[in-house]
């Protein structure tokens, strides 16, 4: 009985972590290049909605994901124009996008699906990998995931490789740390940052699409519920390192999953307190850790070529 609940808990923890892993991994690369996308939540929300819509309209969750990623990338492109070329305040722009995303998805959802529709939409099937299922306790939870969930881990590896072994990754790190030096070494600061933001957009798109098409098979208003903010916090908590960021995402995922485990175990803990737990953890994390890990020196600072 307890084992079964643990399996459910692990499974839901992982599922809740996946969108954050996607978004945080992309965001980490963008922040390494010096651009903070507070609009991550908006990108995810727009992607979740678009993926649901496209999947519902075409019957193909794959097309859904593609459409979601496309929309999130488009948002990222606008964010990049504003943060890089127009040197706007990255935080304020991000908040603007989140308001816009909430408004537009809510509006379109009501217009297209009608108020508060809960019809399921075509989604991905779980893979049920037998060789994973054999692991005790967490095995079934690991195995019963959609393919997209495994892609999220793959993206962490890819991102790590990019940062460590490619000249693009080197450029990203240089641009985020000392854009003036990078510029003088002949690197285009703007181009590198654009690519970083677009990368964050693509991954946030995957994360958002996962929520609607792979996880819940439906769209609900404001369904990200601040997951984008959690992803940003995970990046800070993870000290801008891909593996630590992954660990932070898992932590937040499991903290969120507690709200399903605790009632199941019939513990008398108010649900409200479980709702705020991931955010509280995040706050404690950034308050406790920021001093120790060094953020990219040029994070959120627009670059303007000068003498």
């Amino acid at each position: 009985m307890i084992d079964e609940q643990m399996a459910v808990f692990v499974g839901s923890g992982l599922r809740l972590a996946v969108p954050i892993i996607f978004a945080a991994t992309g965001e980490m690369l963008s922040e390494r290049a010096g651009v903070l996308n507070l609009s991550l939540d908006g990108m995810m929300l727009m992607s979740a909605f678009t993926a649901a819509l496209a999947s519902w309209a075409t019957g193909s969750p794959l097309i859904g994901v593609a459409a979601g990623v496309l929309v999130a990338t488009a948002v990222a492109a606008v964010q990049a124009v504003l943060s890089v070329t127009l040197r706007a305040n990255q935080l304020v722009v991000g908040i603007g996008f989140n308001i816009l995303a909430l408004g537009s998805t809510t509006f379109l959802y009501r217009e297209i699906f009608g108020p508060l529709s809960r019809d399921p939409i075509p989604g991905f099937a779980q893979l049920n990998l037998p060789w994973l299922a054999g692991i005790p306790v967490i095995g079934p939870a690991l195995a019963n995931q959609t393919g997209l969930a495994y892609v999220s881990i793959l993206m962490v590896v890819v991102t790590w490789l990019i940062l460590k072994y490619t000249s693009f990754g080197l450029a990203v790190r240089a641009v985020g740390e000392d854009p003036r030096a990078a510029d003088k070494a002949g690197i285009s600061v703007a181009k590198t940052r654009y690519l970083g933001v677009l990368y964050a957009g693509i991954l946030a798109g995957l994360g958002g699409a996962f929520m609607s098409v792979a996880d819940s098979n439906t769209f609900t208003e404001n369904m990200t519920k601040g997951a984008g903010y959690l992803a940003i916090t995970a990046v800070i908590f993870g000290g801008w390192n891909p593996w630590y960021t992954l660990a932070a995402c898992l932590l937040f995922g499991f903290a969120t999953a507690l709200q399903f485990l605790v009632p199941a175990l019939q513990l008398d803990v108010p649900v409200a307190l479980l709702l705020l737990l991931p955010y509280l953890l995040a706050l404690v994390a950034i308050a406790g850790l920021v001093g120790k890990s060094r953020q990219p020196s040029a994070l959120t600072i627009p670059f303007e070529r000068g003498g």
Binding site: L38, V78, V81, L82, L86, R87, A88, N89, L91, V92, V93, I95, G96, F97, N98, I99, L100, A101, L102, G103, S104, T106, F107, R110, E111, G226, Y229, I232, T233, I236, P270, V271, A272, L273, L275, L276, Y279, L280, A282, L283, I286, A287, G288, V290, G291
Partner: protein, 364 residues
Amino acid sequence: MVMKNPKLARVAQGARLELVPLQVVVPVVSTIIALGIGLLIIAATGASVVEAIEAFWDGMAGSDFNIGASINRAISLALVGLGFIFASRANLTNVGGEGQIAMGGMFATAAALHGAGGLPLGLAFIVPLAVGTLAGALWGGLAGVLKAARGTNEVISTLLLSFIALPLVYWSVESFHLLRKPISDVSSLPESAEIPDSTKLPLLFPDNGSPLHIGLLIAAIAVVVVWLVLRHSSLGLRLRAVGLNAMASRRAGMRTSFYVILAMTVSGGLGGLGGAIMILGQQFYLTSDFSSGYGFDGLVVGLLSRGSAVGVVIGALLFGFLRSGSINMEISAHVPSAVVLICQGLIVIVIAGSAILTNRKVTR
């Protein structure tokens, strides 16, 4: 000699002196464009634009009651907006208005329900207002302390504090041990009991049915005080100095941590006051989502104002009326009020994006 002669520089600037400063043009133009887009969206849904506008107008200002309700909304937005510009004078971005409103409203409700009702001489509503303000101040001040002590970015911390405050309100109206009203035969919704009449804010025009309350006077005083402090006081200059260059301010003998915490505390306190006024002046009982969207509206108001207290008043009135209008539009013309969110998002993005135009000149 490297430097430009300041006199020459001024003459050069004067040559391209605009009739209306960009600081005013940009918010006005972007608001108009955003509203235009809103109308286009309404038209695109196939709803009657005329009907929608009529419903919108009716909701905003169709009657004394509606005007009063709109202004009441503007009062809370103005307070949050004032809080925003207060913090931003010290170069701090308080985006946690939502959480500060939530804490203010929750604690004001608690004070009103538990004891303040019997107090004489207007203390019945003054005490809950003060308690709400204090709660918001603590919530904002916490972000200030984290910033001063740990260097935690206040944008992230105030956002997270909002995400923490909202479940707390939910908890308080969910739990019978806290503020949830006892289950009666009529309803068992998760909300608090209605606050005692003595704790409700007195109406300004009790005779004509307008819900306009004395929160208007409180907000007016706040506007004047914030304006004086930010523009003409030594405290305002110190906040500005600390925000512009903490190191130089420290060298000049200022305790920079103190001013960071103070700015965030006052900023949060104004948000908390806004939340308290929402409960005591208008809603009268606490629900889990009573603050919904007010924080972000207040933030937008603060952004639009570009640091000016007068700008906050204008922006707050605009959004107060917009919100009233959009609610009525949804009810009467069946156009989702999310259209207004779209407009707001666009306004924020456009204004932030055009900062490159307006920031060339040193503000002030």
